[in-house]
């Protein structure tokens, strides 16, 4: 039930290749069908220890005291880990890319911000013994008010979820409490539109649900190194995160993975590797830390729920004149990757259409739920649902066939996009035409004749003469890293280097890697404890949780400082 329509774009392709384009069998298929593909847990160790976490039963609570004495004396228990055992117990994933402020402990010490947040880890001879000991850790909780809805969370007086971000909003560019997209003037265009179409769209939190749950096994290796077998989707991301949190040179870690039982975005958070390695460091024995299915579903980070409001101004003939978005991304209790998903999502607006006026305010909101993370289509799937459900309403409002409406508004080669780059290599119109044809839907003559290669550019390729700007949501005193550099790039960001089809990618000049910083625990946690006691009155616009001159942290960082190669 699949056909390859080679007649489309045939003159842009050289199909005379030896191996590319062939239905070659998968290299890994023999291992899969014989049950011999080595996933992380398919490595046997004598004396393997098992790790299970003690988790918060509350959405939001301060920790008065953690009593591990009884658990420590349970049969089979080798060691109990708490936050102070983690050399550097605060991290944000994208710190490896110089983006965001460390906001999340590996094991919570002073407070928990979501139900299921780990506060201790039991290391025992058997999994059953670890489970039994988990039940014997006594935590004295001071339960606090919590907030679960994104729009409630950003109201004044809402409980502060994450101490680093006092208004429950991630700070972009050290400047705004949301990411803006401004292209043209939507309000002016709404005033001259024939139809205004509005909608509200809500995604649900979704579990990546790989059949293999997340986990890692770490063991002492010869030469004073540690080997870590892991289900990670991003080997060096996990290695870098572990090196940072354990303050360990990256070359003392030997990560092995690469054969993973499904990921879909759920295996990038790098929570298992540092705990498993820490266990191996402190016990001198191989340690396994993996989620069971219940944890995978409720403690493992889901696709974050997004809420989108869309307002369109539409001309009688179906042309969309203006589109305005307000988006709330439910990041849960910590940042993980949601901050970046919004940047990716904003670069995607207003969808594959050429609309002369586009406006978006998108907020990364902290709530007392399981932190969100990547999932297949991260940053895009939710807003695509909103856009395309909305397009159906627009079609109805102007009385058009929904496919004709898409083709009429579709972007074409040469059109200017709202993120101020020219569209190229587009093919939306052809996809629409093929489906309409297969489904027996009669399109307008203009839709049938349309092409991604024609009628783009020109007037459609020019930047708007006027763009309405504003300073709404200004924040001061916060530095959230490279992407969040205060003021950002004033002019024209770097253009991509054009690359020919099969030629070698332009040789990249490797920027010198900055030397590893000596880890130092930032003052953020301690400083913020006091300020979060009150739920009222509303905190003023983000007080500095970190000073702008705080050195960037990290045992190993992937990115050259953003902007080093800025042109």
């Amino acid at each position: 039930m699949i056909e390859f329509r080679k007649e489309f774009f045939a003159d842009e392709r050289d199909d005379n290749l030896n191996e590319v384009g062939k239905p070659t069998r998968r290299q890994d298929i023999l291992g899969h069908v014989t049950g011999r593909s080595p996933y992380f847990d398919d490595h046997l160790f004598d004396g393997l220890l098992h790790i299970r976490c003690v988790r918060s039963p509350h959405h939001h609570a301060r920790i008065r005291r953690i009593d591990i004495a009884e658990a420590q004396s349970m049969p089979g228990v080798v060691r109990v880990l708490v936050g102070r055992d983690v050399p550097r117990n605060l991290n944000t994933l994208l710190s490896l890319l110089d983006f965001g402020i460390d906001d999340e402990p590996l094991l919570a010490e002073t407070k928990v911000a979501y139900k299921g947040e780990p506060v201790a880890a039991i290391i025992a001879e058997t999994e059953a013994q670890a489970r039994a000991a988990v039940a014997r850790v006594r935590v004295d909780w001071d339960v606090r008010p919590h907030v679960l809805d994104v729009e409630e969370a950003i109201k004044p007086g809402a409980p502060v979820v994450c101490e680093v971000y006092q208004t429950n909003k991630f700070i972009y560019h050290g400047k705004y409490d949301h990411q803006k997209l401004r292209y043209g003037d939507v309000e002016a265009a709404f005033a001259r539109a024939d139809h205004i179409v509005e909608g509200r769209y809500q995604m649900s939190p979704i579990e990546q649900a790989p059949i293999e749950t997340c986990g890692a096994i770490a063991a002492p290796e010869v030469n004073d190194r540690y080997v870590c077998y892991t289900s990670t989707q991003a080997l060096f991301f996990s290695l870098g995160t572990a090196a940072k949190m354990l303050t360990m040179p990256s070359n003392r870690l030997h990560f092995i993975g690469g054969t993973v039982g499904g990921g879909f975005g759920g295996k990038v958070d790098s929570l298992h590797e540092p705990i498993a390695i820490l266990g191996a460091m402190l016990t001198g024995r191989p340690c396994k830390f993996a989620w069971d299915r219940e944890e995978e579903m409720q403690v493992g980070a889901p696709r974050g729920a997004e809420r989108w409001y869309i307002k369109d101004g539409v001309a009688r003939d179906g042309r969309i004149l203006a589109r305005k978005f307000t988006g709330y991304f439910d990041s849960g209790a910590y940042t993980r990757l949601s901050s970046y998903a919004i940047i990716k999502g904003v670069g995607h607006l207003p969808g594959p259409y050429t609309i002369p006026n586009v406006h978006a305010d998108v907020y990364c909101v902290f709530t007392n739920r399981t932190p969100a993370t990547a999932m297949r289509g991260f940053g895009i799937t939710g807003v695509d649902f909103a856009i395309e459900a909305h397009m159906d309403k627009v079609a109805e409002a102007v009385g058009m066939n929904p496919i004709d409406l898409r083709i009429l508004n579709s972007y074409r080669d040469g059109d200017m996009k709202a993120h101020r780059r020219v569209a190229k290599n587009t093919a939306l119109i052809e996809c629409c035409q093929v489906v309409a044809d297969k489904a027996g839907i009669a399109l307008q003559a203009s839709s049938r004749a349309a092409s991604s290669l024609r009628d783009g550019g020109g007037e459609r390729g020019r930047l708007p003469a006027h763009t309405a700007l504003d300073q709404k949501g200004t924040v001061t005193g916060i530095d959230t890293g490279g992407y969040a550099r205060k003021g950002g790039a004033p002019g024209r960001p770097a253009q991509p280097v054009p690359m020919p089809g099969y030629s070698m990618p332009a040789a990249a000049t490797a920027a010198p890697r900055p030397p590893a910083q000596t880890p130092a625990r930032p003052a953020a946690t301690a400083a913020s404890v006091a300020s979060s006691q009150s739920t009222t009155p509303p905190p003023p616009p983000a007080q500095p949780a970190n000073t702008t001159d705080r050195p960037r942290q990290g045992a190993m960082r992937f990115s050259s400082i953003s902007g080093l190669r800025r042109r």
Partner: protein
């Protein structure tokens, strides 16, 4: 806690090992016996990744008490091939691209084999029913159904 000695037949060969009290068959096979082909997916009996046959009937190893296989015949995906010769289902799964991450594949193959062993020429509906206790997150099931039907057809010709 006394461990229990267990003697059973795994993929045609007699095996012996010790089980912890309350240990499930999945953990016993993997860590006690070293057969890593059944996979842990849930420990709740809801995903089918640990499917094995016991005396020819499919069971969920995670919900089976290890000692209940004493004296019985267990088959896992690791025992499907005969020497270097793959089972027709394995060939069909390779040919039909019926696996992506491969993690559900061993359990899926065992469910499919149990079907073909009792019904060599199943309908599509019977295939669907036979794999309904095995969850796949990657493939959308269609290539797996196709592979099982193809294996059945190949066998019918042979």
């Amino acid at each position: 806690m006394a461990k229990t000695p267990i003697v059973f037949v795994l993929n045609g060969a007699e095996r012996a090992s010790f089980a912890e009290p309350g240990q499930n068959l999945l953990e016993f096979l993997r860590r006690g016996v070293g057969d890593l082909s059944p996979k842990y997916g849930c420990g709740q009996g809801t995903c089918g990744a640990c499917t094995v046959t016991i005396d020819g009937q499919t069971h969920l190893a995670c919900l089976t008490l290890a000692e209940s296989v004493t004296g019985r015949r267990v088959q896992t995906a690791a025992g499907l091939a005969t020497g270097a010769t793959l089972h027709p289902l394995q060939e069909a799964f390779m040919e039909n691209f019926a696996a992506q991450c491969g993690y559900c594949t061993p359990g899926m193959l065992i469910s499919a084999k149990a079907l073909l062993d009792r019904n060599p020429n199943p309908s599509r509906e019977e295939v669907v029913e036979a794999i309904s206790g095995n969850i796949c997150r990657c493939t959308g099931y269609e290539p797996i159904i196709e592979a099982i039907l193809a294996a059945a057809k190949g066998r019918a010709r042979a």
